[in-house]
Amino acid sequence: METSEKKINDGFTFVSTDSLTSEKIDTPTYSYWRSVGRKFFSSKVAIAMLILMVAILLMAFIQPMFSGYDFMNVDDINDFSKRYNPPSMQEWFGTDKNGMSLFDAVWAGAKTSISISVLATLITTVIGVVVGAIWGTSKKIDRVMLEVYNVITNVPQLLIIMVLSYTFGSGFWNLIFAMCVTGWLNTAYFIRVQVMIMRDREYNLASKTLGTPSMRMIVRNILPYLTSIIVTNVSQSLPAFISYETFLSFLGVGLSADVPSLGKLISEYTNNMSNYPYLFWIPVTVLALVSVSLYIVGQTLADAADPRTHM
């Protein structure tokens, strides 16, 4: 017996039980947000876009505080040496027909455009998710809401916004109100479909038979699954609202005359496209950069927010 035991022990050494190490090689600790962060920062494009986005946001929200830019200021209009200066070291983005620095104008405009799109997205998403979650779970509400949706989405949104801006006047908050007053319905409809897909899954049926109240089912069972979908929706609607604000300013509705925005700059400098192209292309480029960075950061965040990709 002794010989056989010796044979077994050849090349092996006995180890004492160590409860501490055994804890460690157990399943690794999982933190949702840490995994999201790890997944997000593994994409080089996303990091580059995040840096770009933060840089633009900081410029847009800090620079106007120092520049003292006033859209309606025409002090230098008679100073010919200040008019139509092409971009140089002194005037980074050049000057326009009133002798105003385009650099100041672009950041003041970006501030308005970004604020509008962020606020409008926030409002429509919050209302849309709450209403959409209830809409998707209740079949009675669904029947009514579908007809409401059919009717309201067929009224041109442009018409509603323009008519509202006539009645309540144009301005920053009025524009946000006009954008949100019908905009939430689209988000709600989108969430409704997603909720309906989740609603009849087995685990929810089981939960229902166990007597979970529907409010709890929405909040605990369904919405966590929709995190990535909601983030995708947010990342799409941010550039969409910027685009929409640009379009409205281009048409000359929405914002009042003294509020600068990227759309307003673009529409104002359209005439200068052939003689002073920098006036037109710089705001367009900034607008495109804002949208692209917001969108790509949002998309990557949405991918990272999906726990199925964390493994």
Partner: protein, 495 residues
């Protein structure tokens, strides 16, 4: 299925009705009615003459349906039927009688500021205006339509004749339009004048013209052709002889009578350029064909090489296309088009007669929708790629190109078929931006223009057209989907 279709159509009509009513209510209650005169040149000129200004204002409001308006003459004539002693002079007795009458009938008695004569207005409540809008909308022609006191022995008939002006046609007498059904050389070759849409009268832009004519009638310079009239004279004229309408004998000029030989002397003109609806429709349909023509092959290509270089490059491109604001996108491509290909960057440069004017707006319109098409078709194709029938086809020895083209695409096309009618509509109605930037005279540009000019009747008409088209397209999309895929049954619970 028939039953389902019937109810579906009824529901569509109901939603068109609801949308139009809602829009009508929004426009006519929220837009301040004063705003109508904001950019009216005529109105500004009259500011020095308060009497004419009041007359002008009230006539405009009554044309738009806000109020009913009796000017001095009509007011006195109406009141005279009950109180023969009344006259238009601003005396105390007259005022009393008029005041009594107006109070009884729900009118407001007012005085012109300078010459002090009386007039009366009556606000039309919103439900009544909505009712009138719908009641007048469909105009159906029939032989008892025209009631002309100066022409009592007019024959009332409908018969098929070989007319010297219009050729073989269903010719009416006593009807509003002379040619009820006629043939000509323009698509769709057979035309009718029996049913007409009446959407009101345009004001303040295109003042006095019928809204239907503003949107659906020709534009630009008038187009003259050789026309032989009833009296045998041939001359170059731009009249559209097919549009002959009854002219009241009291308003009929001697020349018209000679030219046409009867009372049907009121005609529309032929124009060189297509209508707003026509321009938008042409550009929209071609843009959609273009978008699908490029989008489908690209998406198929990307799906076949999923995760490889072509797919990654495609996704990168699509991401940029989605996130760049449409306005910047349009300007960018307009710049490229005009610099590299020497195409006009504005529609009126060469006008509607030149094909070069259409190229850039149409191509850009198509490109705008392409990213969405690519994303979804790629998604459908990839979802199908893991299906069992694909594995079976592979096992049978088909190569991947054959599988993609003959099997996967056929299945992936089902949701696409559903989308096509909607994209066509979307392209027509969504052309607001391209049409504004290129200054193309289409319907998309007309909508913001009309809202800005406070041209409420035209706004209503465009909303009505857009909604009808949108609702119909959803219906056609569903039917097309059910036709392509026999498994889809739209009706609940079997046939």
């Amino acid at each position: 299925m028939k039953r389902y279709l019937l109810f579906r159509i009824l529901r569509s009509i109901l939603s068109i009705f609801l949308v139009t009513t809602l829009t009508y209510t929004i426009i006519y209650s929220l837009v301040p009615r004063r705003a109508v005169f904001q950019d009216d040149v005529q109105y500004g000129k009259l500011k020095g003459k308060p009497d004419e200004l009041a007359e002008y204002e009230n006539t405009a409001f009554s044309k738009m349906g806000y109020i009913e308006y009796y000017n001095s003459k009509k007011l006195v004539d109406t009141v005279k039927k009950e109180h023969p002693e009344v006259s238009g002079e601003p005396t105390a007795e007259n005022q009393q009688i008029l005041e009594e009458w107006t109070k009884e009938n729900g009118w407001d008695l007012k005085q012109f500021p300078l010459n002090k004569t009386y007039y009366a207005t009556k606000d039309v409540p919103l439900p009544k205006r909505v009712y009138r809008f719908y009641a007048n909308m469909l105009q159906i022609d029939h032989p008892w339509k025209v009631q002309d006191p100066d022409n009592p022995d007019m024959k009332r008939s409908l018969r098929i004749t070989n007319d010297e002006l219009a050729g073989w046609a269903l010719v009416g007498s006593g009807t509003q339009y002379k040619y009820q059904i006629y043939f000509d050389k323009q698509f769709p070759y057979i035309h009718q004048n029996i049913v007409h849409l009446d959407l009101g009268i345009s004001y303040p832009t295109f003042a006095g013209r019928n809204v239907t004519e503003v949107i659906g009638g020709g534009q630009g310079k008038s187009d003259s052709q050789e026309v032989t009239f009833a009296n045998g004279k041939t001359s170059r004229s731009s009249v559209d002889v097919y549009s002959r309408q009854y002219q009241m004998t009291s308003q009929l000029s001697e020349r018209d009578k000679q030219l046409y030989g009867d009372n049907y002397a009121h005609t529309d003109k032929n124009y060189r350029d297509p209508s707003m609806i026509g321009i938008s429709f042409r550009m929209g349909v071609i843009a959609v064909l273009l978008a699908y023509g490029i989008g489908i092959p690209l998406a198929m290509f990307m799906a076949r090489f999923k995760g490889k270089l072509p797919d990654k490059m495609g996704i990168g491109l699509v991401t940029v296309l989605i996130s760049v604001p449409s306005l910047a996108f349009i300007y960018f491509f307009r710049f490229i088009g005009s610099r590299l290909f020497n195409l006009p960057d504005s529609f009126p440069t060469f006008g509607a007669g030149d094909i070069r004017s259409y190229i850039l707006p149409t191509v850009i319109l198509g490109l705008l929708s392409i990213s969405n098409i690519i994303i979804w078709i790629r998604r459908y194709m990839i979802d199908q790629q893991s299906a069992d029938y694909v594995k079976f086809a592979k096992a049978k020895g088909l190569n991947s190109r054959e599988i993609a083209r003959k099997h996967i695409f056929k299945n992936a096309a089902i949701p696409i078929v559903n989308q096509i009618p909607m994209s066509i509509i979307g392209a027509i109605t969504g052309a607001t931006m391209t049409e504004t930037i290129f200054a193309a005279p289409g319907m998309g540009k007309m909508l913001p223009d009309a809202i800005q000019a406070h041209n409420n009747p035209v706004v209503m008409a465009i909303v009505f057209v857009f909604t009808t088209v949108a609702v119909t397209s959803v219906l056609i999309g569903d039917l097309a989907m059910a036709m392509v895929d026999p498994r889809i049954n739209l009706a609940e619970g079997g046939k």
